[in-house]
Amino acid sequence: MKGFKDLFTALAAVFLGLAAGAILMLAIGSNPLEGFAYLFRGGLMNVERIGNTLATATTLTLTGLAMAFAFRTGLFSIGASGQMLVGGLAATALGLGLHLPKAAMLPLMLLAATAAGAAWGFVPGYLKARFNVHEVVSTIMLNWIAYWTVYYAVPAYFKAEYLETESARIPEYASLKVAWLTRLSQGSFLNLGIFVALACAVLVAIVLNRTTLGFELKAVGFNRHAAEFAGIDVPRKMALSLGISGALAGLAGATFYVGYAVNMQIGVLPSQGMDGVAVALLGANSPLGVVLSALFFGILHSGKGFMNAMTKIPPEIGDTIIAVIIYFAATSVLFTRVWDAITARKRRKA
């Protein structure tokens, strides 16, 4: 029953998000049906576009998992953007600095991204555990520290040949893009990251549902006082949870900067970090839900450009829809009340 309730609230939030999008399209004098048709065709109409949707969903899956993992422990990290940046920077640094066969390169880069993200996540975790510093505030600070780190590190050490504002191109032997996937998806951005993301989703599901650690983390999330009373080392579990969440976001950074993209731009706090909040919420913090909602947001993101090209609707409609969905996912008590009312009526009839 809980699964149905989650599904109902998720669908209701999506519906209201799309409705808000439709109202905006109407408001600027465009036809919403046409707009949505182009939006979804842009995400799905041929193999290449489906590939791009999957590539976008890859990063979103990982940031969504990062958020969901921390949520399950009752922690609200919004540090995925910064963790993506340091993860991407670590992977880029190795990618540009080392020259090994691809089979050795990629694991090393992914490992570096994981470690950098984990470190960036562990700091707020430690501050929370040791000094009771609120993780929302510390992750915001760390996001900006990461932003400025990249802003100065890229031009100083990894400068592109002509442009000061981006890093040099990641060479072929260090990119998550591989020829067979590119050929299979007819030249899309699809890359090995998708397997990383799916593996992580499975791993997170196993850890959360089948291990003692997962049980303890969830216990802390449900009621930290009860967990403490039961003998769980709550501060340590919180730090660990934020560290793992950071590791996932660091990997997300690798799939984006050395998979989807070919270099790192400076002066951008990646929006996928915040979108991860939406992905996790809509997916009810379950790994399967995260994968599905990442796919949905992937369609919106990769379709909005096409819609913008075919109509006069600005591409920001995609982000607006996502943001409205988060808002309604956060106020899901509205829908659960409706759901409870419906099921209560059914029960009375029976």
């Binding site: 501050l127 929302v136 600005p314």
Partner: protein, 315 residues
């Protein structure tokens, strides 16, 4: 050295004022018990509405358009913060998520509208406020050049709002009730305070002030809406914590951040500063906030009920 300080100071003051306004907004919201990390987004909304209003009215009204623009900015921030109020007060949403949603909606929606209005994502205004020297006072040695030269009229307005905020929070029944709702809403309720209404007031005031902050950025140093306020809303949140949730503390913290940010911005042209790596200057406010959070963690806490959903049945 003195020359440099005297030259930078007015810019630092101008830069800290929007921070001050937004941070005071955060103060009202958090002291009433509602965390508002949507400040950044509310500032963007204010910035956008102010830019559109001024660019439409300036041809016919001239200087007066700026004031109308600022009023519109505050009103739009207030209206937009209703979303956060409804979600976090009536619908028991997680306040941080609701705030995040506000941030995302406002950046996406304003750029969406800006593109529809101007074709590009930017809105320019031709004229903002012009800095002026305060007569007589600017002649005072030391203090004159620092505080009373090249000041904006908004600076004085916002300092007046700061005083007013202090007075409202600490010297009026409303302020007492607001603070009570942020510490222990059940007790306030038992004493006959309508917790919901007070929290609405807190969030709406924060929206108006954040909107005004966004407008101030536009009419003083930026002159253009481009879809972002560059993290100033988050910095305002940091200043709120750094200032220990008190008006005067916030003034100190925002000025400190404003000065640090201005130093970072001008470091290229000042030989003394050019030797310090840019990253140190830019990351400085954030690192200091983290350190301050650690240092204060034992002695200060924010409003005790901030971020918690009010449940009248809980004791």
């Amino acid at each position: 050295m003195w020359d440099m300080v005297a030259r930078i100071f007015p810019y630092a003051v101008a830069y800290s004022m929007p921070l001050l306004a937004a941070s005071l907004g955060g103060l009202f919201s958090e002291r009433s018990g509602v965390v508002n990390i949507g400040l950044e987004g509310l500032m963007v909304v204010g910035n956008f509405v102010c830019a559109v209003t001024i660019s439409k009215l300036q041809p016919s009204l001239g200087q007066g358009a700026i004031w109308i623009g600022l009023a519109a900015a505050a009103l739009s921030g207030l209206a937009f913060s209703l979303l956060h109020a409804v979600a976090s007060i009536n619908l028991s949403a997680n306040q941080v998520i609701s705030g995040t949603a506000i941030n995302m909606v406002s950046t996406a929606l304003t750029v969406f509208l800006a593109r529809t209005i101007t074709g590009s994502g930017n809105v320019h205004i031709t004229l903002g406020f012009v800095p002026f020297d305060v007569p007589v006072l600017s002649g005072i040695p030391i203090l004159g050049p620092l505080l009373f030269t090249k000041t904006y009229v908004t600076t004085w307005l916002l300092l007046a709002i700061l005083l007013l905020s202090w007075f409202v929070l600490y010297k009026t029944p409303f302020g007492l009730r607001l603070r009570a709702c942020g510490e222990h809403p059940q007790t306030a309720d038992a004493a006959g305070v309508n917790v919901y209404r007070i929290r609405y007031a807190g969030v709406l005031i924060s929206g108006a002030l954040a909107g005004l902050a966004g407008g101030t950025i536009l009419v003083t140093f930026s002159g253009e809406f481009n879809g972002t306020v560059a993290g100033l809303g988050f910095l305002a949140l940091a200043a709120l914590i750094f200032g220990k949730w008190k008006p005067l503390g916030i003034l100190g913290a925002t000025f400190f951040f404003g000065f640090a940010a201005t130093l970072a911005n001008v470091s290229q042209v000042v030989p003394l500063l050019a030797r310090i790596p840019g990253i140190v200057l830019k990351a400085f406010p954030y690192v200091v906030t983290l350190l301050a959070l650690v240092a204060f963690s034992k002695t200060t806490q924010g409003p005790r009920a901030a971020g918690e959903i009010y449940d009248a049945g809980k004791r």
